[in-house]
Symmetry: C3
Subunit: 360 residues, 3 copies
């Protein structure tokens, strides 16, 4: 059995006293120097009147108070200020794992391949070129991971024919960290944008540009550099899709700021997170597809029989978008709508009715 918390110990020590635990999430520094307005504190205690008195005191300080129940919750309240981003742990693990995997995958495909097969040392590319491939890849995968559990939940509801049964535990936990997944994906997309903007001032890029011209002149061609209209369209579309994707991404991130999200109505929040979110996923996936539009069928793309990174990263988003497309087909959408309004498909297992009664 756990030992008592200080608050519980105090309560037992002086039985007549009314002990209220709280405000411990505010540091002494903040209490002295403020501002307190907008901060959240927890309270717990066995006496309602005592809690009311402390609540009034806290409200007078400008903080908002959350009641966590009786004094037995003191441990949880005491642990809170010691937690370090608990809800970010899983998304951070996923991001780190994916980044490490794609870093080594592309290191082998790009740098080591060139060294072994062509005997060229292009290791300097690790710093910018390689990172600028890994970040967008992981970002797109994590963005699609935000929308995958929603589709899986819908499929589960369709299969079970009811909304009155709990999702598996892992799905619940996944759905609760979607915001953090999305924000990490946005951070990686932001890094991708910064990396892209410095491309033209890099030494290697300027060197290559100058070499191109000089080689061009050496060969003494009459039409030194043929302008390909298709290439111009393709690269410009690629950039525009990237910009639009990042812009939509950024809007999504903005609405996840507590003060912006809090000022939206429920329908507005749902609209932004669902409609705008799926649009972002579509635009970013198209950005990925157009990157490799003329490389999919070239054998030279598949070095050492491995597919390039952008192909791997398109798998999950494509699956999510296809499943989502199936979900909005009229017939599927209608069934799903009925289930979400409380309708149940009566099957052989009638026992579900009792489950429903308890859930309600």
């Amino acid at each position: 059995m756990y030992p008592d918390t200080n608050a519980e110990y105090l309560q037992r020590l002086v039985p007549g006293a009314l002990v209220v635990k709280g405000l411990n999430t505010l540091s002494a520094w903040v209490l002295l120097n403020g501002p307190l307005a907008g901060k959240q504190v927890f309270l717990c205690g066995d006496s309602a009147e005592a809690k009311q008195a402390v609540r009034e005191l806290a409200t007078r300080l400008g903080v908002s108070v959350l009641d966590r129940g009786s004094l037995s919750a003191a441990r949880e309240v005491e642990d809170f200020p010691l937690q370090l981003f608990p809800e970010w742990r899983l998304p951070l693990c996923i991001a780190t794992g994916l980044t490490a995997f794609f870093f080594f995958y592309l290191l082998i495909r790009d740098i080591i391949y060139a060294y072994v097969e062509q005997d060229k040392d292009i290791s300097f590319r690790i710093m910018v070129s390689l990172a600028n491939k890994v970040f967008p890849i992981v970002s797109l995968i994590m963005l699609s991971l935000c929308y995958l559990p929603g589709v899986m939940a819908a499929i589960l509801q369709l299969y079970r024919g009811t909304k009155y049964s709990h999702f598996p535990d892992w799905l619940d936990r996944w759905m609760l960290c979607r915001k953090q997944l999305g924000l990490l994906a946005l951070a990686l997309a932001f890094l991708h944008v910064l990396y892209t903007f410095i491309i033209p001032i890099r030494y290697a890029v300027r060197h290559k540009l100058i070499s191109t011209v000089v080689d061009e002149m050496k060969d003494n061609k009459s039409t030194p550099f043929y302008f390909d209209n298709t290439d111009a369209w393709a690269t410009d579309s690629f950039f525009v899709l990237g910009i639009m994707g990042f812009f939509l991404y950024f809007l999504l991130g903005l609405t996840s700021l507590p003060s912006v999200g809090g000022s939206l109505s429920w329908r507005e929040f749902t609209f932004v997170q669902s409609k705008l979110g799926h649009l972002t996923l579509i635009v970013c996936t198209a950005h990925g597809y157009i990157y490799g539009w003329n490389k999919f069928l070239k054998p030279s793309t598949y070095k050492w029989w491995t597919p390039p990174g952008y192909m791997l990263c398109l798998v999950v988003p494509s699956v999510v978008l296809v499943l989502k497309l199936l979900m909005v087909l009229p017939c599927v959408d209608r069934s799903l709508g009925r289930i979400r309004q409380g309708w149940e498909r009566t099957g052989p297992e009638e026992g579900r009715a009792s489950l429903r009664a308890t859930t309600l």
Copy 2:
């Protein structure tokens, strides 16, 4: 006559009950998974005590409560979660209309003109070059539309000689959507910035750069590329004004975040929105003027006798800035100051005094 809302129906059904409508702006999902702190909910009901009880319950949940009056307001409260950005509708219409107009205007002037008169297919420019002209044009016009109603209100007050008469309805509605106008303008300016940063990595731009060098070499000049100091000053000033304009724009946008704006005092908020806002408008308008500094008098600028897009977009900001300049002239500023402190110019219409009494 409208049918009753559920809340009113319930009240009539059980006359003795104290019905309070509210909390309907929180979804079941949010109620379960939180966080509730910072969310706003509405309450309405005929019994003050009942409302007080619900208010206390809601405050305990961490949400802030807005009283919307008696139960007859239930319809409004019920409609709220179904509204989708009502205050954004008008600004979005203006932005869409202006964007469509300038897109087709520049499409004709740039792409179709080149096709018809010079028989060149430069349609690939639609994706980036054209969009990067339309976005800043619409952004600047919308920024000036934020400050036009303020100037118009001042002129109206000067003309009427009093502040105690209502503005026309359209002016009131315009003034209420200034924030949304400004944020849309900021969004377009942000897109303009992103579009500008990718310019040097575009295929067409790099192609043109290489062609310039090769052509330069072919002609075998001794001074291959003359450095024009005026050009260097002009283009650098153009970029610096653009950067500074965007930076100030961004600061304006930051203070419109609910949590940042809420922490400013009234004088600070007025300072930022008025002084900083007009400075932004000046800098961005100068950015536009310097873009065409040496093109205004060239006949080749006026293709098919139409002025280029940036000239059209400078009209409204210039008018706003000239009017604002007139407003801060000492003599005008003094009259306006007196009017805003409650002074009235007594004219033939003495009936205005009664209006003042009622407004006070």
Copy 3:
């Protein structure tokens, strides 16, 4: 003696009345058009019941109330809406002073030196190149000024052997404006980033690139442009450190948004501001060191016997980082930890114990 405020005058005029001063920080416009939620107002008055009544009224309006005590605080409450960013004044002075100093220092070293010694007019560089040197220099110095007072406070505590004695007044004031110092540093870093991204589209840069190629061709070398692997590594590392530094900077800035910071627990906030902050300082200082990695020993770097700007700007961050490194040495860290938990080094001056008693 100061004259009475209106509120105090009113109280003396009608002795029986219960006067409460407040809500004056909300403008008439905001009261009419909202939203009020999240705004902070002050209250003061001599009667607790009257204040309670006004507080309830204010809470009903959705604003949060801060009690400022008795009616004698009315002057302070009345002055509040007239204050214009009081806590930003000192940081803004520091930023302006540093910017002016480095601007003239680099103007002499870069532009005037070239004019006098080499008879070249490169004055156009003032607009972008010079500004893009001044901004990062001032930004890095101001970032390190955020972390210097923390280190100085720790040294002072170690020297005095107690935490129960007040810091000097200037140190207290410095520590209170660290947030504003940091945000100004972030703003300058943001400008540095924008200035850097437009480098490749500048007229002078493109001119130099073309000239390089043409000169290269004129000399008719067989290996026109040697690729230096070390240079590629150095410049790419320089850019990556800059990007990472800005990214961490940006995260720090995000957590200083009231709504984001308010949702963090105390340990999370400390973690972000201390660990992440020092990491940002390390990365940005490394960004500065790598910029001059191969220039430190060249005599041509020291024009007119003056060190270049980036060397000057590395002094303060290096000192802060070395001192911080000393602080986290196990032996120093242990003493400091004991002192911060309340332990005192008993020395010859026993009088300190009485000071401790009064402070407690």
